[in-house]
Amino acid sequence: MSLIQTTLAAYSSGKFSARDEVSRFFSVIEEKDKAIGAFLSTRKEKALREAEEIDRKKEYGKNLSGITGGIKDIICTKGEKTTAASKILKDFIPPYNATVIEKLNEAGFISVGKTNCDEFANGSSTEYSAFQLTRNPQDITLVPGGSSGGSAAAVAAGECVFALGTDTGGSIRQPANFCGVVGLKPSYGRVSRYGAMSYASSFDTIGPFTKTVEDAAIVLSVIAGKDEKDSTTVDAPVPNYAERLSESIKGKKVGLVREYMEVEGLDPEMRKVVEMSAERYRAMGAEIVEVSIPLVKYSIATYFLLAKAEASTNYAKYDGVRFGHLSKEAKAMREIYTKSRSEGFGDEIKRAIMMGTYTLSAGYYDAYYLKAAKVRTLLRKEFDDAFEKADVLLTPVSPTLPFAFGAKSDPLQMYLADLYTVAPSIVGVTGISVPTEKIGKLTTGVQIIGPRLGEETILNFGWHLEQSYSS
């Protein structure tokens, strides 16, 4: 059942107004967010004014009229603080909107605020935010996942209908899984990145968190498409993603990736969750096939090597000159750079910059960066082959259930938590995280991976799985 459609219908029928709805969401935020910490900033006054305007004009016919959304604080919002959860951009106010914000505005959405995340989206638990912790609404002693932990938590806690996150190596899919909501990472190039602060430019994507698969489809239909401000967006038609959700999947093939299922660190319960979904697909008439992608074994090394290298070049622009933090200690030009950066960046960003600088430096470039870029080619080939044998791949999202704060204090251990989400990012395909089973009090789920621009297919498969649990 789509929350967006239900709300739009309620507005049209006069059951309640957009103002009622927006004010209801703010009372949830006021009640819960002290404990959850999903938002870095909220915009109650503006949101209520926008809702009143929609009510006054009775403008309920747009795709997201008066629908509340939270925006990851790495996506630029005109005139409203955007910090990337970094001290270096603590007071940064963008003079323009990201393309996705322009598109959401056209569709009538109402932003409730900006959500917390790992600094510049580097991380898997939102613990690397320079400002605050976000707690998992399912159990506040656990992390919400990351890097888009605030967006996932906001939707899970009912603080907004949907939220936007960014996914470079799992930053939408993993927190969605940890918080028990739907999270969709579009194919690279499907959604414009213009106005989203870069982490790794050849991996970054923007996508939605929602309560239902249909809502994810609705939001994706609004934000997808070619943008002349992002030359990596593809010129492929944007379908109404919500239209073909219920199409039969009978006879279609669901692939289980052998190497993913055999991983030693995979929690047996999480493996079982995947097998249970496979069983449901079989019952729906889909065929379960085993596929092999041997190189996923190397996906974490490949991903982090390439992503941190790209990151290190992207973070060169934070230099205390054009925007962001300027060190008070700086006495000469070079100190403006070094002191501003050293005071402004947190540990993981410093590690990213150091690592990238090293792996891209003369003498090491061939052994590291170039080698990983070649493995990327081979991995793409293996994924292409897998999609010859299966329509979608069914995998875990994370090897474990959400972990406790401080559990991954070693950075390498944090990287290893992304085992199941980095490979689709390396090859640029699409993936969706769908909540399915409950383990104890925690809702967890599976990842459905589709080929490039296969969003309709994974939404179709995701919808059927969701239906099988709701009926």
Binding site: P95, T232, R322, F323, K331, R334, M354, K371, Y415
Partner: protein
């Protein structure tokens, strides 16, 4: 037999010579055999040594990043315009060594004759019309700077 004899004077002489010839032949054969086996042995020894050496070289390559020294960390930080405290140098030296060591597993993958991938869209040469456009937020962009603005330019501290 006769064909192999060198000189044939009489029966005895012939026999003698034949015996002598077989001695020479045995000597020759053993010499050749010795030469052969020695060279094989030499080859074997050399190849073992060289493979050991290359293994050693490979191992040095594999293990060298685990020893990212404090000095190297400072050098990288300098290149990246970062100032690190002594504590950070020590911490990053350890953490980055571990991570680079982890990256080294990629050396196991055979990537001979494989082209690198830099982007996944397959798009090439995306152009737009070279036309003038209104950019009405130049002043606002400038006002994002933490430094003073003078005549639409950012002023910075002296270079030296």
């Amino acid at each position: 037999m006769k064909n192999f004899c060198i000189g044939k004077k009489n029966e005895n002489g012939e026999k003698e010579k034949t015996q002598k010839t077989s001695h020479y032949r045995i000597l020759l054969f053993s010499f050749l055999f010795y030469l052969f086996s020695f060279s094989t042995f030499l080859y074997f020894v050399l190849s073992v040594v060289s493979s050991l050496l290359s293994l050693l070289e490979f191992r040095t390559f594999l293990s060298s990043p685990t020893m990212l020294s404090a000095e190297e960390i400072r050098k990288i930080a300098n290149l990246a315009h970062l100032e690190l405290t002594e504590k950070e140098v020590e911490k990053f030296s350890r953490e980055l060594s571990d991570i680079l060591d982890f990256f080294n597993q990629l050396q196991e993958v055979n990537t001979d004759n494989v082209e690198p991938t830099a982007q996944v869209t397959g798009l090439r040469d995306i152009m737009r019309e070279d036309a003038e456009k209104n950019c009405d937020y130049s002043e606002k962009l400038l006002s994002s700077s933490p430094n003073a603005i003078e005549k639409s330019q950012i002023t910075v501290k002296s270079v030296f």
